[in-house]
């Protein structure tokens, strides 16, 4: 009965794929939704590639998954990948459906699958990865993800025992996951700018998990990302199997060492989180059997996808769109820190409101007090516009962060924000938007470009 139901589900899903193509609606997980609705254990029956690499974690999994797919393509390996779809069970099902024909015959030898952390319990009972990359674990949506320990427990309860783990030694929240599984660790040795005390509001590894003594850090980059040790017992961060060293953002280069092998790499992006993403992919590729020298060659031909970041120049001004995942304090802090690190005078439009929440209830704003708005105080930031349904909460949070009231402007409607710009000479304008306000952010950007144009004609 199960197999018959599966065959019907696969046929229906394949038909839905054709229907979506006719209606030009690609990139949805609808076929997977159809398949799982007809056959709840669809993932049990669908054939899949011989080798599966799963990528999960709170931040960076999309970047790592896409980059790994692209680097493998340079190595001549076309892999099945859910980069265009979703990372929950129905998205994984949609991806696997695209990898088989109507008779469930597999077309690919390998898959790189981005997997939502919470969906592990619906995916891993059936789809058992050979390797699993955990980029990191950090605070995320309070409503959905609660806290990192909760997500770690979900993963630990569902990671198959035979899966080899690729883990970030610099993130103690994820480094100790599923301790019985075989594993390798990657990390980045001391970098310029590292501190010994975290300055961030989120710091979820402050005490030793064994004796609860306050941990010390040989170096820490943000939150609890770094190399820690307990001054009282023998607990410490794992040693690196893959170590990045000589990381230099001026020359945009780093070295990677594993065993007796080492290689010089160009950095694909100067952001620390993206350096971690690159080191993660190098580690995964080496685990797949490629030498560091080969990986360097493949990597030189690909780029990190820049959909979350784009800059437009208008005369002496720049307009930068930055995705700052709504209700995610950790991601917001990285974005604020990045803006603070950039040179020049700046204006910032904050519009990362969760528009989905507005339709159904009201956004939970606890995250504002986990997020380092303090990075927006000073650092050349001369004007901040708060807008959208939570404009008043943003304003209060900025005041709490020490931002002077006279440099804060507010408007309820996002598209009114460009009209409030002060447009300094050599201004750098940043528009921070959430995952469900991409289209609206585009309108705001158009308004900003128009405002710059009008100002130029005065």
């Amino acid at each position: 009965m199960g197999k018959l139901r599966f065959a019907i589900a696969l046929a229906a899903a394949k038909l839905s794929v054709i229907a979506l193509k006719i209606t030009k609606r690609n990139g949805t997980n609808f076929p997977g939704v159809v398949a799982i609705r007809i056959c709840p254990d669809f993932l049990k029956y669908i054939n899949r590639p011989e080798k599966i690499i799963a990528v999960t974690g709170t931040n960076g999994k999309t970047t790592v998954s896409n980059l790994l797919r692209d680097v493998l393509a340079q190595a001549g390996k076309t892999v099945l990948n859910n980069g265009l779809g979703s990372n929950i069970a129905s998205g994984i099902a949609t991806c696997l459906i695209s990898g088989v024909n109507i008779f469930n015959v597999e077309k690919y030898k390998a898959a790189v699958l981005e997997v939502d952390e919470r969906s592990a319990l619906r995916i891993f009972p059936y789809v058992k990865p050979d390797w699993m990359i955990v980029t990191n674990l950090s605070r995320d949506s309070i409503m959905r993800n609660a806290h990192p320990e909760y997500i770690r427990k979900i993963l630990e309860d569902n990671i198959p025992p035979e899966t080899k783990l690729i883990l970030n030694a610099d993130d103690l929240l994820s480094a100790g996951i599923a301790p019985k599984n075989e594993r390798v660790y990657f990390g980045i040795e001391k970098m310029e700018g590292d501190a010994q005390e975290s300055v961030n509001l989120i710091n979820d590894m402050q005490i030793c998990p064994r004796c609860h003594t306050k941990l010390k850090y040989e170096y820490v980059r943000y939150s609890s990302i770094g190399k820690a040790y307990c001054p009282r017992c023998d607990f410490r961060s794992p040693e690196y199997d893959y170590a990045a060293y000589n990381v230099d953002v001026r020359s945009m280069s780093m070295d990677i060492r594993t065993g007796d092998e080492s290689e010089h790499f160009s950095l694909m992006n100067e952001g620390t989180f993206n350096i971690y993403n690159q080191v993660t992919v190098i580690t995964a590729m080496h685990e797949l059997g490629y030498s560091l020298s080969e990986i360097k060659g493949f990597m030189s031909k690909v780029d990190i996808v820049k959909t979350r970041y784009n800059v437009t120049e208008r005369g002496d001004r720049t307009v930068t769109m930055l995705l700052s995942k709504d209700k995610n304090a950790y991601a917001g802090s990285r974005v604020f820190e990045y803006i603070a690190s950039q040179p020049g005078d700046k204006e910032v439009i904050l519009m990362m409101n969760c528009l989905g929440d507005v339709k159904h209830w009201s956004e939970n704003t606890c995250w504002l007090y986990d997020c380092d708005f303090e990075f927006l105080n000073g650092h050349g930031i001369k004007h901040i516009i708060v807008t959208g349904p939570r404009e008043k909460d943003y304003k209060l949070r900025l005041l709490m962060a020490g931002v002077p009231e006279d440099i804060i402007s507010a408007c309820e409607k996002e598209t009114d924000a460009p009209g409030l710009l002060r447009l300094f000479e050599n201004d750098n304008i940043y528009i921070l938007y959430g995952t469900d306000s991409i289209a609206l952010a585009g309108k705001v950007k158009a308004g900003v470009i128009a405002a710059i144009g009008e100002e130029g004609t005065k």
């Binding site: 309070i142 209830w361 939970n364 709490m400």
Partner: protein, 240 residues
């Protein structure tokens, strides 16, 4: 004003330390002592000057176990301190530590400090998310709840901290929310409770004999009034 924050390294899951920062910006001459989990709470130390407020925020489930283990040796001293009128505010699941037990849907049952006569039931695969609107006396209180648990009064004499207008109380079946016993205050409302509710903070300070204006009063009251109106609007959904 003297404030003790218990275990800020683990009891600050949803921006709760923002409450303390808001107190620091609102109250002149404030002293804040942060007590780590390996230390005895200072408010129990007879050699310490007394504290006007002791605060503890939300934490992970494993941190709850750790805090219970650390506080258990001081159970009698904590009871005595509460009876003597120590002002304590605990928010989110920190309140569960003061009840009788936490039962998991796996059948496991964790004994807690047993200071107050209520128990907690936990479902780790069910997250209860909601907005909250209630009253502290005649003061409107707004906030958020996001939890795996509900608690149940086992003794009808326990008094709540808030009376619920919209959203769940101590559990979805009751309007009473939290606990008020002498100056011990507990609520499931998480995060920046004082920042979102400046009148509540002012009232609690006044009870402690401290007169203070909320910091950034205009902006804070503007946000507060908007939120109360929004939550009071029947069109605003309350459950996620």
């Amino acid at each position: 004003m003297r404030v003790e924050v218990l275990f800020p390294e683990i009891a600050n899951l949803y921006g709760e330390l923002g409450n303390i920062k808001y107190l620091e910006k609102s109250v002149p001459d404030i002293y804040v002592k942060e007590t780590s989990v390996n230390e005895k709470p200072a408010f129990l130390d007879s050699n310490e000057e007394s504290f006007d407020l002791v605060y503890m925020g939300t934490m992970s489930e494993s941190s709850q176990l750790l805090v219970m283990e650390k506080l258990a040796p001081y159970r009698e001293e904590i009871i005595s301190s509460i009876e003597n009128g120590q002002r304590i505010l605990v928010t989110g699941n920190a309140l569960e530590i003061f009840g009788k037990s936490i039962s998991d849907d796996t059948g496991e049952k964790q004994q807690c400090l047993g200071i107050f006569d209520f128990h907690t039931e936990r479902k780790m695969m069910k997250r209860f998310n909601s907005l909250y609107l209630g009253k502290y006396g005649d003061i409107d209180v707004a906030g958020y709840k996001s939890q795996f648990t509900h608690s149940f009064y086992d003794d009808g004499s326990l008094k709540p901290l808030f009376m619920t207008e919209r959203g769940p109380g101590f559990n979805p079946d009751v309007k009473e929310e939290g606990i008020r016993y002498k100056n011990f205050m507990a609520t499931y409302v998480i995060g920046p409770l004082f920042i979102i509710n400046p009148p509540l903070m002012t009232a609690i300070l006044k009870e402690a004999g401290i007169e203070a204006e909320p910091a950034f009063k205009d902006a804070a009251m503007d946000a507060y009034r908007s939120r109360i109106a929004e939550y009071g609007n029947p069109k605003t959904g309350f459950y996620y």
